[in-house]
């Protein structure tokens, strides 16, 4: 596996913020909200974090892989496809739609 890209497997992410807080380059931005889920037979609703946005700024990322290491749910993984080559810094900020693992994107 090439370490060319850090991919987000969106359905595994619980918005726990660990990657955001441990990133030494401060290049991950995450936004989420909580919703109540009513399970049948449960006495009170369960809180579930819903991921609203997840951005990696590849103009700052140094590919250290700390986020991948700290993720308790394996929602981040090394990937072979690369961040765009561009002359525009804003193009390096990739959101959920662009961060999927190769095959999905």
């Amino acid at each position: 596996m090439k370490h060319a890209f850090i991919a987000l497997i969106e359905n595994k992410c619980t918005s726990c913020m660990l990657c955001v807080r441990e990133c030494p380059a401060w290049c991950i931005h995450l936004d989420s909200h909580t919703v109540d889920v009513n399970d049948e037979g449960a006495r009170r609703p369960r809180k579930v974090n819903v991921l609203d946005s997840f951005d990696i700024d590849y103009s700052l990322c140094m590919y250290c892989g700390v986020c991948i290491d700290v993720c308790p749910f394996d929602a981040l993984a090394w990937d072979e496809h690369r961040a765009l080559v561009t002359t525009n810094r804003e193009d390096m900020l990739l959101g959920i739609d662009e961060l999927g693992p190769s095959g999905n994107s």
Binding site: V20, R21, P24, W26, H29, D31, S32, H33, T34, K47
Partner: protein
């Protein structure tokens, strides 16, 4: 090559003499010279300067190091290739190499504090909002859910004193 590295402490005033002696002994291959800020390692406000010299056939090599406050005799006249390393060390750690080159290497002259000293405040770490400070558990009406207040509110690696207003 001998893979177990040999480290030898040197007194600052013997630094040049030690290098001269090593060159005489055939340690002609100069690998590198760099600095280490020891301030938080043992409460010592000193900088360490390390140089690695080896025999050209790599049969033997030696790391020499010395602890200094802010100045050291230059070895760039003994080893011309050390000039680059000393200039880099000078601007990154604020060490004066007496008798060496004085012009800056990579840094802009207005940058101020040497960036690799632990006492240097990194402005970007103070001025940029930390993305990890966002609290996903705070609802729109300001109500907190979960144990968000138990979280560390300081980014890892950023000293507390930097964040005080």
């Amino acid at each position: 090559m001998n893979r177990s590295f040999t480290w030898q402490p040197v007194e600052p005033e013997d630094w040049r003499g030690e290098v001269e002696e090593l060159l005489r002994q055939g340690f002609n291959y100069f690998d590198f010279l760099t600095g280490v800020d020891c301030e938080n390692v043992n409460g010592d406000p000193k900088c360490e300067v390390v140089a690695h010299l080896a025999k050209p056939d790599l049969s033997d090599s030696l790391f020499i190091y010395t602890h200094i406050i802010d100045e050291l005799a230059s070895i760039s006249d003994l080893i011309p290739g050390a000039t680059w390393h000393e200039r880099e060390c000078a601007e990154m750690f604020g060490i004066r190499f007496n008798g060496g080159a004085t012009q800056l290497l990579l840094r802009h002259e207005d940058l101020g504090q040497p960036p690799l000293r632990k006492t240097t405040v990194l402005a970007a770490r103070v001025l940029t909002p930390w993305p990890g400070g966002a609290e996903p558990e705070i609802k729109e009406d300001g109500r907190k859910v979960g144990n968000s207040s138990l979280r560390r509110q300081r980014p890892p690696g950023v000293p507390e004193s930097w964040l005080k207003p």
